[in-house]
């Protein structure tokens, strides 16, 4: 009897160890960890505290993309979900606001739909964010104030849109970045976790 278990253990170990636990291809672009408020860079916290008091519910995250660390604060404000991203020293990178497709101007909506229709036969929006970032690097830390004041003059506005989409050759989830007018800037495939344990 024990030989049977030993043989099972041996072959399982052989198979498992033939897959490297870590390899270059396995490293995900962004590794996100939930952190405490006090683990955020001081300057980023100061920016958050300027507009919301400490009682405000804010979730904090540290991200690592293999090359650099960034931080993110997520909160709900005025009926929208916001993600505020900071670099490793706490300077603001961008502010993202969760929106509905109808919140985009009709002209930009049409351009986006036209682009998606060119690429896919079927698509469905799963997440739409309006992204605000500073035009000039020296104005980065004023981005949050500009968003709150609805002063968009010095801001670059983009739309980050996630779709479930398919055509004859491809099927999956894709993240597309559009400019303010609906012109596509970037597209990348979202690699979903394998479904083998729940399917």
């Amino acid at each position: 009897m024990k030989y049977y278990y030993l043989a099972f253990l041996f072959f399982s170990t052989l198979l498992v160890t033939s897959f490297p636990l870590v390899s270059a291809q396995d490293i995900k672009d962004e590794n996100e960890k939930s952190i405490n408020r006090e683990d955020m860079p001081t300057s980023s916290l100061a920016m958050i505290n300027r507009f919301w008091n400490k009682e405000k519910k804010v979730d904090f995250y540290r991200q690592y993309n293999g090359a650099m660390i960034s931080y993110e604060a997520k909160l709900e404000w005025n009926g929208h979900q916001y993600s505020i991203e900071f670099d490793s020293v706490g300077s603001l990178v961008n502010v993202e606001q969760l929106i509905d497709f109808k919140d985009i101007s009709v002209a930009s909506q049409n351009t986006i739909i036209e682009e998606l229709s060119k690429q896919y036969t079927r698509f469905r929006f799963t997440r739409i964010q309006r992204q605000y970032s500073a035009e000039k690097a020296e104005d980065r830390d004023e981005t949050l104030e500009d968003v709150i004041d609805e002063d968009y003059e010095d801001l670059i506005i983009r739309f980050e849109i996630v779709v479930d989409a398919q055509n004859k050759d491809v099927m999956g989830s894709f993240e597309l970045l559009f400019d303010e007018y609906g012109n596509i800037i970037q597209k990348r495939r979202i690699v979903r976790r394998s479904l083998d344990n729940i399917w």
Binding site: S12, V16, F19, I27, S194
Partner: protein
């Protein structure tokens, strides 16, 4: 979230039925090794080796209740809906004279929804079980939910929790019965190609049987490999 507390709490909930442990109870250790690959965005395959070991008979030839190699495929009709089928072969009590076999064919449909990196999956499965001594159909519905325990996304090196419940009815021209399987598990996500799950499952079997309900407690250790 203090996931150790969560895990401890869910373990207690899952093991509560142990209080009902009696003559009609079984304790099983179920090691599984799964390997999956995709040939396109739509078409995926899975092979798995699943073994049922009776913990109470661990010192004798009845320890291995069955060995089951499995093969299944799936076809994505959309990014959230999959159709699939498969074939399982079960060799029962291989260490005892007079072993039995079973050929099983299955057809299934699944629907998956994503809430960030939280996943909710519905699966409806129809099975035909051709045994050395009998034939049986089975209709199964399973609801599965898994979510990361650290942050909103599951990153390499992190853990996740998985909850499942499956209801099924088994029937042929002579008889019918029902079963429920509730399980809780914790997963270690090493990277996109490898993960390990430790699960606790409680099966309420033979619900409509005159002989009374049978309780099965199962500890599963599953290793998943992906290409």
């Amino acid at each position: 979230m203090n996931f150790f507390k969560t895990w401890a709490l869910l373990s207690v909930i899952a093991l509560l039925p142990l209080c009902a442990f009696s003559q009609q109870s079984e304790l099983i250790w179920n090691p599984e090794l799964s390997y999956s690959w995709k040939s396109s965005d739509r078409l995926g395959f899975n092979t798995k080796l699943s073994i049922f070991n009776s913990v109470l008979d661990f010192d004798n030839n009845a320890a291995i209740q069955y060995i089951e190699p499995q093969f299944s495929f799936s076809y994505g009709i959309s990014s959230r809906t999959k159709l699939g089928g498969g074939y399982y072969y079960r060799l029962s009590t291989p260490m005892i004279d007079g072993y039995q076999y079973e050929h099983r064919f299955l057809q299934q449909i699944g629907f998956i929804s994503f809430i960030g990196d939280r996943r909710l999956a519905h699966r409806l499965r129809l099975e035909q079980r051709i045994r050395s001594s009998s034939y049986q159909n089975r209709l199964r519905y399973r609801l599965s939910y898994d979510f990361p325990l650290q942050g909103q996304e599951l990153d390499p090196g992190e853990t996740y929790l998985i909850l499942k419940d499956e209801m099924m009815t088994a029937f042929n021209k002579d008889e019918a019965d029902a079963e429920n399987r509730a399980s809780v598990g914790m997963g270690w996500y090493f990277n996109s190609k490898q993960k390990f799950e430790l699960g606790l499952q409680y099966r309420t079997q033979d619900i409509f049987s005159d002989g009374g309900i049978n309780h099965l407690f199962l500890i599963s250790t599953s290793y998943y490999l992906n290409r």
